[in-house]
């Protein structure tokens, strides 16, 4: 049985009807241009904004369990780093009621940050604290929207490594949206490509070398770097 089985997810105007399964032990990246529906798909799985459809994690309908139980099934961390009240980082991480924070504090090197107020942290530090909050309940499925945005290169790599380790743990998986195709290609087991509210491709990292990426993003990989796809002479847009 798949870890996640989502059937008929739909948010009118943002996400066309989508069904999706995710296997345990995998790190999946959602990629697609701005407005392609990555966040909407994460919202639909997390139950944000009363989406249509059904979400089962390990055969349990995640919409029918209370907050405590639900965060052991899934947690969602949005792209926004906005925190409304100036809590101490440790209290924010514990917001779900978790008492044992040793693992996440250790993994995310938060010893120095844990006792500081979140409004006094930098954006990157706050990103780590917010990720720790999502990790603390040890959810089966971790849903992350742009987790590495605003992080320095070293932390981008550390975080992706950590997420891959989390995904490899028994019975767990990570689904994240990212704009960083290079990191996605390097760390993800599976890529789901989205465009205008639909899933248009689903496969391994080799997808990045196919024609599809050029069609969806308008970029292609040459000599290990990403370049805009050159416009063909027939393309009406290229004529002056």
């Amino acid at each position: 049985m798949s870890l996640l089985a989502a059937i008929g997810l739909r948010i009118p105007g943002r996400l066309e009807a989508t069904s999706l399964t995710i296997e345990a032990g995998t790190l999946t990246c959602l990629i697609g241009p701005n407005g392609s529906g990555k966040t909407s798909l994460l919202h639909a799985i997390a139950g944000v904004g009363s989406p249509e459809g059904e979400v089962q994690i390990d055969g349990i309908d995640s919409r029918r369990v209370g907050p405590r139980k639900r965060q052991r099934l899934l947690t969602f961390s949005p792209a926004s780093r906005d925190i409304k009240w100036p809590l101490v980082a440790r209290d924010l991480i514990r917001l779900g009621g978790e008492d044992d924070l040793a693992i996440v504090v250790d993994d995310l090197e938060l010893e120095q940050l844990a006792d500081r107020r979140v409004d006094r942290l930098s954006t990157g530090e706050r990103a780590r604290v917010l990720l720790a909050r999502a990790l603390a309940p040890q959810p089966r499925l971790l849903l992350l929207d742009e987790p590495v945005a605003n992080l320095d290169p070293l932390w981008q790599l550390k975080l992706m490594q950590l997420l891959r380790e989390v995904a490899r743990e028994a019975g767990r998986a990570v689904l994240m949206a990212s704009h960083d195709l290079t990191l996605a290609g390097r760390f993800a087991d599976r890529l789901i490509v989205m465009q205008t509210g639909c899933v248009v491709a689903d496969g391994g990292p080799e997808l990045l070398d196919g024609k599809l990426i050029g069609a969806v993003f308008g970029v292609e990989r040459r000599d290990g770097a990403w370049w805009p796809v050159p416009r063909s002479p027939e393309d009406p847009r290229s004529s002056p």
Binding site: G49, I83, P86, L87, V88, L92
Partner: protein, 320 residues
């Protein structure tokens, strides 16, 4: 937790203190006529103490809940027009429709509070920014105030203004035990209902998306807070008039005890609100002015400078 018990202890102490203050007339009465002394304590002083505790606690809890809901420390029942709406409802019921029974006043007052809160959410939107929230609250308060004056001007009784003045400024004096119960029972129920929402309100610290992903139905919570706050605050306003600024001040101190958690601050804010109003009432009683000040004047005199300080303190956030 410890701070909570400390607060509770302080509340009991101040309640007992205000029950026996001033002591001299009671002592004199006790020497002459025990029964009369007891009657003074139970009929005059007990309702006043109960009313102060219930109203103060209700304002504190409502302030904490509304601040948590809007994620904004400047939200409170009086600044957002809820108390003015409740006062309008009570004035219309009493002076235009001529119903002055406690239950009728309460119903009118709760309806007024509901109308004001509903209008606020319609005007400011569910995720109100500070500026829109305060401007909408100001507009609603001004409108409700003007309509209250209009209702009093149109009232058949020529003494309506004089009659309503003390009550409008907020007063705990000369209320019966029955009247105190009409404020206290809805307040207790409302505080209990708000307290049940604490974890959902705490999760709003991380924004609505995270709260929803945890399974909290934010739209439903918003409606519940509006209805419950209107019920509790409306019932208190009907009995004791409009008392300002406690709903703003109490939650700010309460959050210091809950290390910033906005939802768990509801109960401490209730305790602090009760303590502040009891203290203000005690101050009114002890002030050597010859005549009793309306309690709302005292809370406004103390609360308004605090509000100004808060605005100055938050300017960076307002301008950001």
């Amino acid at each position: 937790m410890k701070a909570g018990w400390l607060l509770f202890g302080a509340l009991v102490a101040v309640a007992v203190l205000s029950f026996v203050t001033p002591w001299r007339p009671i002592a004199a009465l006790l020497a002459e006529d025990r029964g009369l002394a007891l009657a003074v304590m139970v009929e005059l002083r007990l309702p006043r103490v109960l009313l102060a505790i219930a109203y103060g606690a209700m304002l504190g809890a409502a302030g904490a809940a509304v601040q948590a809901l809007f994620a904004n420390p400047l939200a409170s029942p009086d600044l957002t027009g809820t108390t003015s709406g409740a006062a309008l409802g009570a004035v219309v019921t009493a002076y235009l429709f001529g119903f002055s029974a406690p239950l009728a006043l309460s119903i009118g007052s709760v309806a007024g509070a509901l109308g004001a809160l509903g209008l606020l959410i319609a005007l400011a939107g569910p995720r109100a920014e500070t500026a829109t929230l305060l401007l909408s609250g100001l507009a609603i308060s001004a409108l409700a105030g003007a309509l209250t004056t209009l209702a009093l001007a149109l009232a058949p009784s020529p003494f309506a203004f004089y009659d309503a003045y003390d009550w409008l400024m907020g007063s705990l004096i000369d209320r019966s035990l029955e009247q105190a119960a009409f404020a206290a029972l809805p307040a207790i129920v409302a505080i209990a209902l708000l307290w049940r929402l604490r974890f959902a309100l705490d999760s709003l610290t991380l924004g609505e998306e995270v709260a929803q992903s945890l399974g909290h139905d934010i739209a439903q919570i918003r409606i519940r807070i509006v209805v419950v706050t209107a019920l509790g605050v409306g019932a208190c306003v009907a009995i004791a008039g409009a008392i300002g600024f406690l709903g703003l001040v109490a939650p700010i101190f309460a959050r210091r005890l809950t290390s910033g958690h906005p939802g768990q601050a509801i109960l401490p804010a209730a305790l602090i609100g009760a303590l502040l109003l009891l203290g203000a009432d005690l101050a009114v009683r002890l002030a050597p002015l010859g005549r009793t000040l309306p309690i709302g004047v005292v809370t406004a005199l103390l609360g308004a400078p605090f509000f100004l300080w808060l605005v100055a303190h938050m300017r960076w956030r307002l301008s950001a």
